[in-house]
């Protein structure tokens, strides 16, 4: 599959090592993504990486990706300046079950950069707020300076029909929010566990323990959805690079329900 070209229109620094790129593409297929899906972004001459879409699915004209600069390819992608060009293939993978979640309460739990792949789902839910029950967004971060999209969270906090809680692992005494692991927020979140859809994204250990905390609170395994991450190559389910037990994350994921993952998540080195 040949990448389409997309031009960077803006580049915004979110955190010390994290940038959001806004891209303009001529290929309409690239823009028709579902919340939770990813694109393969190609930095010319360097390489390709799977990056979740972090923008609003109803915003037809723009493709938005939030990229953490952690390696050669992600560094090249995060360094693309406005006017420069990237290759894009996609969108790929499974989506957050935002339609299946209609009529239920929704609890969104993010850890660190995990808020980026969840943001399209939050946009969708807010755009169709009347279709959902109670909605809680629980965001965890390493520290206050590691909170992704702080202005967006502050804006969402103004929605009276949305519970937003942020917890950082540690903070100095100027921080007035929660301190502790994000799972601590679950017992006091406002949702009916018997009728809740949970969307979880963050480091794998965080997702595992979040799923456990949700199970402890009474949420069913098949209504907890995680976004898995593995190195991907083809994005099409052919090469096997992202194999995870019986699954290929690029094809069967990244969004998968916990009942399919629970046994695999505790297997060492999988």
């Amino acid at each position: 599959m040949v990448p389409s070209l997309a031009r960077v229109t803006t580049r915004h620094q979110e955190l010390g090592d994290t940038w959001t790129l806004e891209l303009e593409a001529d290929d309409p297929d690239l823009l028709a993504f579902k919340p939770g899906q990813f694109n393969m972004l190609y930095a010319p001459g360097v390489g390709e990486a799977a990056i979740s879409v972090s923008g609003d699915p109803s915003d037809a004209g723009r493709l938005i990706h939030t990229i953490r600069d952690v390696g050669k390819t992600s560094h090249a992608l995060a360094s693309l300046e406005p006017g420069m060009t990237a290759g894009v293939r996609g969108p790929f993978g499974t989506a957050w079950p935002v339609e299946a979640a209609e009529g239920t309460d929704v609890v969104v739990v993010s850890g660190g950069l995990g808020l980026a792949p969840l943001r399209p789902a939050i946009y969708h839910i807010l755009a169709h707020r009347e279709r959902y029950g109670r909605v809680a967004i629980l965001a965890g971060a390493r520290g206050v300076k590691g909170i992704l999209f702080p202005n967006q969270l502050a804006a969402w906090r103004r929605h009276l029909d949305l519970q937003i809680e942020i917890s950082v692992d540690h903070a100095d005494t100027s921080w007035r929010g929660h301190v502790g692991v994000v799972t601590n927020l679950i017992p006091s979140a406002d949702f009916d566990p018997a009728d809740t859809t949970a969307l979880v994204c963050g480091p794998e250990i965080m997702m595992r323990f979040t799923a456990n905390a949700l199970l402890d609170s009474g949420v069913a395994e098949n209504t907890i959805h995680l976004s898995m991450e593995r190195h991907m190559k083809c994005g099409l389910g052919h090469c096997g690079r992202c194999q995870y037990g019986p699954y290929l994350i690029c094809r069967d994921g990244p969004v998968m329900s916990y009942d399919r993952l629970s046994r695999l998540l505790t297997v060492k080195d999988l």
């Binding site: 952690v70 965890g140 692992d169 929660h178 502790g180 006091s188």
Partner: protein
């Protein structure tokens, strides 16, 4: 309007959920209502752990002082949580500061009184341990996760 007794308040607190109905009354003999304004300290590191607190309202920051820098918050707790485990472990001294982030209403349970009751009534003591041990395990588990620095740069 009928005023709720301390025993009823204790029985309704999440920490004492499903406690044998006779125990809240017994425990209430060691209890008193307390209130802390914003910025007030429930206790300071190094002080004798003379009580533990059932938080009824408001949030409390647990903090550790470090020389040359601001105190660090390592946990916040709120309604339905407890503050203070050091009262169970000799030499019964607080190992951190606890500060009210909001107006805090709590039940303070006198540690010496409660320890004496637990010594006299081992059934009560065991029931209390069954509540404190999971809390300790949970806090240890959360501390492990914090130490793992999950959100740090992947290596």
């Amino acid at each position: 309007m009928q005023q709720q007794g301390l025993g009823d308040i204790i029985a309704a607190h999440r920490f004492f959920k499903d406690l044998d109905p006779s125990f809240p009354e017994l425990v209430s003999g060691c209890a008193k209502n307390v209130r802390f304004g914003v910025g007030d300290y429930l206790f300071h590191e190094g002080d004798g752990a003379a009580a533990f607190y059932l938080i009824r309202h408001g949030r409390v920051s647990l903090e550790i002082k470090a020389p040359g820098r601001q105190s660090m918050q390592f946990m916040t707790v709120g309604e339905g949580d407890i503050v203070g485990i050091s009262w169970l472990v000799p030499p019964y001294c607080w190992s951190y500061d606890a500060k009210a982030l909001e107006l805090v209403r709590a039940i303070a349970l006198d540690a010496t009184c409660l320890r004496d009751k637990c010594e006299t009534d081992n059934h009560l003591g065991y029931e209390l341990m069954k509540r404190f041990v999971p809390e300790l395990a949970l806090r240890l588990h959360c501390t492990r996760l914090q130490l793992l620095d999950l959100y740090g740069k992947p290596t």
